[in-house]
């Protein structure tokens, strides 16, 4: 009888049923779309952050630098013994130096074990970020006058002056712990050719190179790279798992990188994974307490530094979307409650009659509540259909978002807190690769709003809550009616 009466009532006042269901449906659809868009923007932010941070990293620890003390000034020093001087007084020079990357500061590798011992930390890996700079060419006799325009050299940063002719090349080199692939810079990379590092590669003169560096420097597996006079064999070529991950040009076992750069037992960045998402803040606080001079950066710190259309989309979804959803939801709930109360008022005589027939208050509350619940369910299902359609349309639109992890905060977090300085090399050459991008990294990503079972459950849950709320209020009013009202209305 209950369901028969519910079905008959809802069909009997079809217009009201449709209005309430449509109101709830629109609200739920909006909540679904905003939730999905919000998750999509979060995912896009994660992509951008991973380009700086690496997949799976919750915290990075770098050494805060004092102004002017940053490493990696692209400066070459030549001693009297460097190069060979010809009869015309010009000097032919070839030099290769591996130094700490621009904007980073070295710290003792002991910090890794200190961090490992901190509360909430599950995994740690340390890296040493370096820049290899080569200079080769002919320097004119310092006593001769400049003649003619400079003759540019080839390679990555050719330049010349005063009749000189030289090449300047630089690329990024990162020392990593062999075998550590789940956390750190290689977490977002796969081996495209050759092999990756294993723990057996510790101390070996082997290297992994990025696909882009392999292409530009014409290298392949088995090629050798000379770093500060040491020949290193390329054993693998790496590719990014996604467009967001930026790889360094060359990876070396960390002990080899430390030895070649003369930075024994030094690291620049420690990547930290928390035991769970909930413990990240605890872990960050513990690390800060243990290493008061270090810069401890969490994902949320970096997220606040993301700019560009991604940032705009994020604030649009987080602010406007959320409040709009709440407003529409409140309006839909209000509508459902008002229509239910109005329906109860119109049916005073019916409820009075049913009470005169011996229907208990509980039975009448159940009747009104079930009617509202079914109405909410209809709205919920319709809202799901509209919402899922909206999400599919959003994804089909292929909205492109760009996120820039720029400014001092992100650059500091990413590269180790180095002081800003003229890091482009003494001769004005550019710094390619990850080092050059550390100061400002822009990543393009397409918004993909995921469809999550939790969102669907949330939508249906909200619809049922809306129906239940209206039913409880309406039922309460109906239960308060005195049975005599049915007769009194006839007096």
């Amino acid at each position: 009888m209950l369901l028969t009466y519910v079905r008959r009532e809802l069909r009997g006042r079809l217009r009201q049923t449709v209005i309430v269901a449509v109101g709830l449906a629109l609200a739920i659809a909006l909540v679904l779309v905003v939730n999905a868009a919000s998750a999509g923007v979060r995912n896009a932010q994660d992509d951008v952050l991973e380009s700086v941070y690496g997949v799976g990293t919750d915290i990075t620890v770098t050494q805060a630098a004092e102004p002017g003390a940053g490493g990696g000034r692209g400066q070459f020093s030549f001693g009297a013994e460097d190069g060979t001087t010809s009869d015309d007084g010009s000097t032919t020079v070839a030099t290769d130096q591996l130094s700490i990357a621009r904007g980073t500061m070295a710290m003792s590798s002991d910090v890794a074990s200190t961090i490992s011992a901190a509360d909430g930390v599950s995994d740690v890996t340390a890296t040493l970020m370096l820049t290899d700079q080569t200079f080769s060419g002919e320097l004119p006799d310092p006593g001769s006058a400049p003649t003619g325009p400079p003759a540019g050299g080839g390679g990555g940063g050719g330049g010349g002056f005063g009749g000189g002719n030289f090449d300047v090349n630089s690329f990024s080199v990162e020392g990593i712990t062999p075998g550590a692939t789940a956390l750190g810079p290689l977490a977002g990379a796969t081996v495209a050719d050759g092999r990756g590092f294993t723990t057996a590669d510790a101390g070996a003169d082997v290297a992994l190179i990025s696909q882009s560096h392999a292409d530009s420097a014409d290298l392949s597996v088995g090629s050798t790279i000379t770093l500060t006079g040491t020949a290193v064999t390329v054993v693998g070529i790496l590719a990014s798992d996604d467009s967001a991950t930026t790889l360094s040009d060359v990876y070396l076992p960390i002990d080899v990188a430390q030895a070649l750069s003369g930075l024994t037992d030094q690291v620049t960045t420690v990547y930290v994974q928390g035991t769970s998402a909930d413990t990240v803040d605890t872990a960050a606080a513990a690390i800060t307490a243990a290493l008061p001079d270090a810069t401890v950066t969490t994902q949320s710190d970096l997220a606040s530094g993301v700019t560009g259309s991604l940032s705009s989309a994020s604030s649009l979804v987080q602010n406007l979307g959320r409040w709009l959803s709440i407003a529409v939801l409140a309006a839909a709930f209000g509508l459902a409650v008002l229509f239910t109360i109005s329906g109860v008022t119109r049916r005073t005589r019916d409820f009075g009659t049913l009470k005169a027939l011996g229907w208990s208050n509980g039975r009448i509350v159940r009747q009104v509540g079930t009617e509202s619940l079914v109405q909410g369910l209809i709205g919920g299902v319709a809202g799901l259909v509209i919402g899922l359609g909206g999400i599919l349309a959003l994804n089909a639109a292929g909205i492109s978002l760009s996120g820039t992890t720029g400014g001092a905060a992100a650059a500091t977090a990413a590269a180790g807190g180095g002081a800003e300085g003229p890091g482009a090399g003494a001769f004005g050459g550019t710094m390619p690769g990850r080092v050059g991008q550390a100061a400002s990294s822009t990543v393009e990503t397409v918004l993909h709003a995921p469809i999550d079972v939790a969102f669907i459950a949330t939508g249906v849950g909200i619809a049922l809550i809306g129906g239940l709320l209206a039913g409880v209020i309406g039922g309460w009013r109906a239960a308060r009616l005195r049975p005599a009202a049915a007769l009194r209305s006839l007096d």
Binding site: M1, R8, G12, K355, W359, R482, P483, A486, L487, L490
Partner: protein, 229 residues
């Protein structure tokens, strides 16, 4: 049997107090057909509400058998309305979205009767008032007389001890009125129930064994007499 002793009912209308019943005492034995007459606002419907366990008196007692309706719990009043007392209303009071059959079934719902038995009993009740073929119709698709027959079927389907009728023919034409009154009389005789009819219509009142007149909250009893043929 109803036994009313010194029953008064007052309503508060703003600052004003209105006395609907004043010190009413009367007895209505089981199986009697009683007509209650009186001017509008005289207290007829209030008396019917007391008898129908729809309201409680301000003072005095309303005994139905041994139970004082003024004292029992609201839950017990609901049970009495579900099992012992049925009411037929002037405006029929059918649920507009339910069919005749479903309207009759609503009276069996509080008794916890299973769906199949409910349907069978409702169909039989509709048959007894001559509306078997109209069971699937909505109230709006029935005439006034047919609607009142459905209301009577609803009242009688659970075989109550008492049937209260509040102006049951007030909205009907003369021919239909005669039909409905004849039906009520027939059911009263067949089922041996107590039938209390509130009416403005003297012709209807004369059909009863006993006539009560109520004006300004006070009841005058004509005593038991032979009903008009």
């Amino acid at each position: 049997m109803y036994t009313l002793t010194d029953v008064s009912k007052t309503y508060r209308n703003g600052k004003k107090e209105v006395t609907a019943l004043s010190h009413v005492s009367l007895t209505i034995p089981d199986g009697q057909m009683v007509a209650i007459q009186g001017p509008t606002g005289g207290g007829k419907s209030t008396l019917l509400q007391m008898l129908g366990a729809l309201d409680r008196p301000t003072s005095g007692s309303v005994l139905l058998g041994a139970e004082d309706l003024a004292e029992v719990s609201s839950r017990r009043l609901t049970e009495l309305r579900a099992r012992e007392i049925s009411i037929v209303f002037q405006g029929f009071n059918l649920i507009p979205t339910l069919t005749a059959q479903q309207n009759v079934e609503t009276a069996l719902v509080p008794l916890g009767v299973k769906a199949r038995e409910r349907a069978e009993r409702a169909a039989a009740a509709l048959d007894s008032v001559g509306l078997a073929e109209r069971s699937g119709h909505l109230p709006a698709e029935l005439s006034g007389g047919q609607q009142q027959r459905v209301a009577i079927a609803r009242a009688l389907v659970r075989q109550p001890k008492v049937l209260l009728a509040d102006e049951p023919t007030g909205n009907l034409d003369e021919a239909t009125r005669d039909e409905i009154v004849a039906l009520l009389e027939q059911l009263w005789r067949e089922q041996g129930l107590t039938l209390i009819v509130v009416t403005h219509d003297s012709w209807v009142a004369r059909r009863a064994q006993r006539q009560l007149r109520i004006a300004r909250g006070t009841v005058t009893d004509s005593g038991v007499q032979t009903p008009a043929a």
